[in-house]
């Protein structure tokens, strides 16, 4: 019954996405735990809501069901359609941080290249170990880069983009939580190296942690999101041929 109602009304998906996301941000502000990542919390709440009410995912995503069987586009797809222009705009913070790249070009490019390679090689080896198939393997390949890029790479390589997004979010949250311990364990003490490690391994969610370490760490982490993303886009298409 609720499904019939929702599928007859425009703007249900847009409204639900916004309201639940605001609630998820409030939850994180209240408890301040990185595990309560707003995207993760919002998605869990919405999935539970849709499952409990029986509202069709297509109504949530595409909007009101019209008489001819098509949807009116007033669902969460509205936000999804803005992903490409937003990814394009990631060039703006990268452009503003380019002076850092000019300061330590070898350490930044060398560090990020090593990190991206280590990431892809370990995904390859673990995928073989777990006996994953090609689709599952390429789904996980872009798991350390920022969501917008990772989703695109996964789709281009023939993976499952929504699973990629999930593994990217897990990576970010886990990286955010363990960053302090890992940096200590491997005696990474240079602020520049700390920032690069956070951004390369755990993209924007890792950068949120790098911000707590200092300004240099934050800038370096922000820079490595874009640089590591671009390097991984190229390397992932090569690695996709290995297995």
């Amino acid at each position: 019954m609720l499904n019939e109602m929702a599928s007859g009304i425009s703007f249900f998906g847009i409204f639900l996405t916004c309201v639940i996301y605001i609630i998820a941000i409030a939850i994180q502000k209240r408890f301040k735990s990185p595990i309560l990542n707003p995207l993760l919390v919002a998605c869990v709440i919405i999935i539970v809501l849709l499952l409990v009410t029986g509202i069709d995912y297509n109504v949530f995503l595409y909007g009101k069901l019209k008489a001819d069987g098509s949807y009116d586009g007033t669902g969460a797809i509205l936000f999804q359609n803005m992903l490409t222009p937003t990814t394009v705009c990631l060039a703006i913070p990268l452009y503003e941080k380019l002076n850092y790249l000019k300061k330590y070009p070898a350490a930044i490019l060398g560090g990020i290249c090593c990190g991206a390679l280590a990431c892809l090689v370990s995904i390859l080896l673990l995928s073989i170990l777990f006996g994953l198939d090609h689709t599952q393997y390429v789904t996980l390949l872009p798991k350390s880069i920022t969501t917008a890029m990772g989703m695109g790479v996964s789709a281009e390589l023939g993976g499952m983009p929504s699973v990629t997004v999930a593994s990217i979010v897990i990576t970010g949250i886990f990286g955010n939580v363990v960053a302090g311990g890992v940096l200590k364990l491997f005696r990474i003490t240079e602020p520049v190296a700390q920032g690069l490690a956070c951004g390369t391994a755990a993209h924007a969610i890792g950068t949120a942690r790098a911000r707590e370490f200092g300004d240099v760490q934050e800038a370096m982490s922000g820079l490595s999101i874009a640089v590591c993303g671009l390097i991984t886009v190229v390397l992932a298409s090569v690695f996709a041929m290995f297995y």
Binding site: L126, S127, C198
Partner: protein
């Protein structure tokens, strides 16, 4: 009007990126071509950063909300990944530690090597 022209510029670069994705036979998403193209336009001064920044920063601020749709889609594709839940989790976490350690150690090593070289040059 400023916002309209910013939107027009960002939309033009997005379209150009998707056009490159359509024309070139590489597995590179259109959004990445667009990102690189935007960076080149900014670096060459063809686009001024203040002429795309208002809308650009605004879009980036609420980027996470754009992933809600695809992530909620996980409820529909459960069959396709239910057998690999544990591998996904193990690979996502383990490789994060490996990547973080490799990046940090490599960057730190290169920096110290450079510092030592510069120190030697000073001594001479």
């Amino acid at each position: 009007m400023k916002h309209v022209s910013e939107i027009a510029m960002i939309a033009a670069v997005s379209f150009a990126g998707e056009l490159l994705n359509y024309l070139l036979p590489l597995p590179v998403p259109g959004s990445i071509y667009g990102l690189v193209l935007m960076l080149v336009l900014l670096m060459t001064g063809i686009f001024k950063v203040e002429n795309v920044k208002t809308v650009g920063d605004w879009l980036i601020t609420f980027m996470p909300i754009m992933f809600v749709g695809p992530v909620v889609g996980l409820m529909n594709s459960y069959e396709s990944y239910k057998d690999i839940l544990i591998p996904i989790f193990v690979i996502s976490t383990l490789t994060t530690i490996i990547t973080m350690a490799a990046t940090g150690r490599a960057a730190q090593g290169i920096m110290r090597l450079q510092n030592r070289k510069e120190g030697k040059n000073h001594a001479e």
